[in-house]
Amino acid sequence: MKHTIKELEDIASQIRRDIVRMVHGCQSGHPGASLGCTDFFTALYFEVMNYKTDFTMEGAGEDLFFLSNGHISPVWYSTLAHAGFFDKSELATFRKLDSRLQGHPTTHEHLPGIRIASGSLGQGLSVAIGAALAKRLNGDKSIIFALLGDGELQEGQNWEAAMFAPFNKVDHLIASVDYNGQQIDGPTSKVLALDDLQAKFEAFGWHVINTDGNDMQAIVEGLHYAKTLTGKGKPILNLMSTQMGAGVDYMMGTHKWHGTAPNDEQLAAALAQLPETLGDY
């Protein structure tokens, strides 16, 4: 372990503060799933992945991460800043004119840490597979990580990719699904049910594991375990249950904070629940 669980939880607390402040600062953005995935991002960047903050597009010899559900950019931006990819003061520019921190992640403004644009849903898994194939051709055994939203699994391209990866033994790939059961128009169970995702991915030939995405110990252990499964002929799917809005009581358990910014009063109420551990931007 590079950090204790307590240290990781402290980092996550700061990232959550950043998320609500960033979204409040521009009065737009997606706090719900950003908060839900904060523990995952913290575990990934501060414990699990091997990478350099001296960013290169290729990332030879490094683990790479791809975010398919690009709307949860606040959590990624804050994580990248605290991991050392750029100065945290830049978080204040989120979604503002002339910023590198666009509403959805992009390479267009050359923000270190980002390797492809995402936002239009359902495209990230294919890209991650492509990056894995290139690493295989290059003899690079590093791991490709990806995060997908659960709602975006309604996009058909995911299932093209889901069929491709096991057939082609793309086995240095760990894709996580943010299984929060919510999407813009309501619970996924009401909009278009995902039902038994484990059975679906297993039927396609994936090795599926289940983790609690809001328990730091569990997510760290889950991702470390996932790494031990790589190189064995199957891609790995981490079915990660999370709570949208995790860490801010009034945002939890509802899709209402998917894409809504808190007002001043709501911001204060959120920050009161999230200790400042690393210093606000």
């Binding site: 936002g119 359902g122 495209q123 491709f164």
Partner: protein, 318 residues
């Protein structure tokens, strides 16, 4: 009129296949992907020599574009292959976000473009692809005119860094360009110098423009013929220089007149040098089943249509 002859007819897709094989030999980072149309795209030679650098994606074009975009991150130069319809309209958003906006070095190689796909009919005959692709910021759009030019273009785009759309076709047509040509992206080819009219043609329409030029010569009309193989970036300088001399222009393409080469030329001329222009192109229509020759005739894409357009546009000169 300069005399053009040919000793053989070949399909431009075979030029792509030969160019891909050559590019693969030159650069080990060149990789190819196909969505279940290996034979149609003439990828066999590449696959035989570089099996580990070929990815069969199956009938899943969206996934193919995404995988290609991802492979660029590892320094690869992916060439995707399928029909033009499935290379563009079917995967427009994947190209827009994962390739164009992300500025990935993907070469989208599209066969069976236009009416000359023939008997399969309108579902497969895309006449909108040039428009779709040229609207994407940063996308290079190339539509070569014969086997040799397609082969040279394929080799050239492997050496260019950035997203490219390469459009070619199915029918066998005369091979009339230099087999040893150096293909320069964005640089027009002067097919014939003339003084009365500028004929600007792309793709399969270049040979038809040459046929039209010969007929026009018999009628006493001295046509300048320019091959625009790169629709974007357009060779503004070559077009303006020619049109200054001739004072009128006819554009020729196997594509809808809405959104194609003709509109790119019109945009240039409207802002720089307003000039009478006629369009030889399909007129906001889908195609249908038939032989390539029948279709080109029915939809007004023959040499005779170019001759008529030239006569009309010369009549509009002040």
């Amino acid at each position: 009129m300069k005399k053009y002859t040919y000793t053989e007819k070949k399909d431009t897709r075979s030029g792509f296949g030969a160019g891909l094989h050559e590019a693969g030999k030159k650069n080990e980072n060149v990789v190819a992907l196909c969505a279940d149309l290996v034979g149609s795209l003439k990828m066999d030679a590449f696959i035989k020599d570089f099996p580990e650098r070929f990815t069969q994606v199956g009938i899943a074009e969206a996934n193919m574009i995404g995988i290609a975009a991802g492979m660029t991150i590892g320094g690869k130069i992916p060439f995707t292959g399928t029909f033009a319809n499935f290379s563009t309209g079917r995967v427009y958003d994947q190209i827009r976000q994962s390739v164009a906006y992300s500025n990935k070095n993907v070469k989208i190689c599209a066969s069976h473009a236009g009416l000359t796909l023939g008997e399969d009919g309108a579902t497969h005959q895309i006449l909108e692809d040039i428009g779709l692709m040229k609207m994407l910021p940063g996308m290079v759009v190339i539509n070569p005119c014969d086997y040799n030019q397609t082969k040279a273009a394929t080799i050239a785009i492997a050496e260019y860094e950035g997203p490219v759309y390469l459009r070619f076709g199915r029918p066998v047509i005369p091979v009339f360009t230099d087999p040893d040509q150096k293909f320069e992206i964005g640089k027009a080819w002067m097919v014939n110098e003339g003084t009365d009219v500028t004929i600007i043609a792309t793709g399969h329409m270049v040979w038809k423009a040459i046929e039209a030029g010969e007929k026009l010569a018999e009628l006493g009309i001295d046509a300048e013929i320019i091959n625009i193989h790169t629709i974007k970036p357009l060779d503004d300088e070559a077009i303006l220089k020619s049109v200054k001399k001739t004072g009128c222009v006819v554009t020729c393409e196997e594509h809808n007149k809405f959104g194609g080469l003709g509109e790119s030329v019109a945009r240039l001329l409207t802002t720089e040098l307003p000039t009478p222009q006629e369009f030889v192109a399909t007129n906001d229509t889908f195609g249908e089943s038939g032989t390539p020759d029948q279709l080109m005739s029915k939809y007004g894409l023959d040499a005779v249509n170019i001759v008529e357009a030239v006569q009309k546009v010369i009549g509009r000169k002040k």
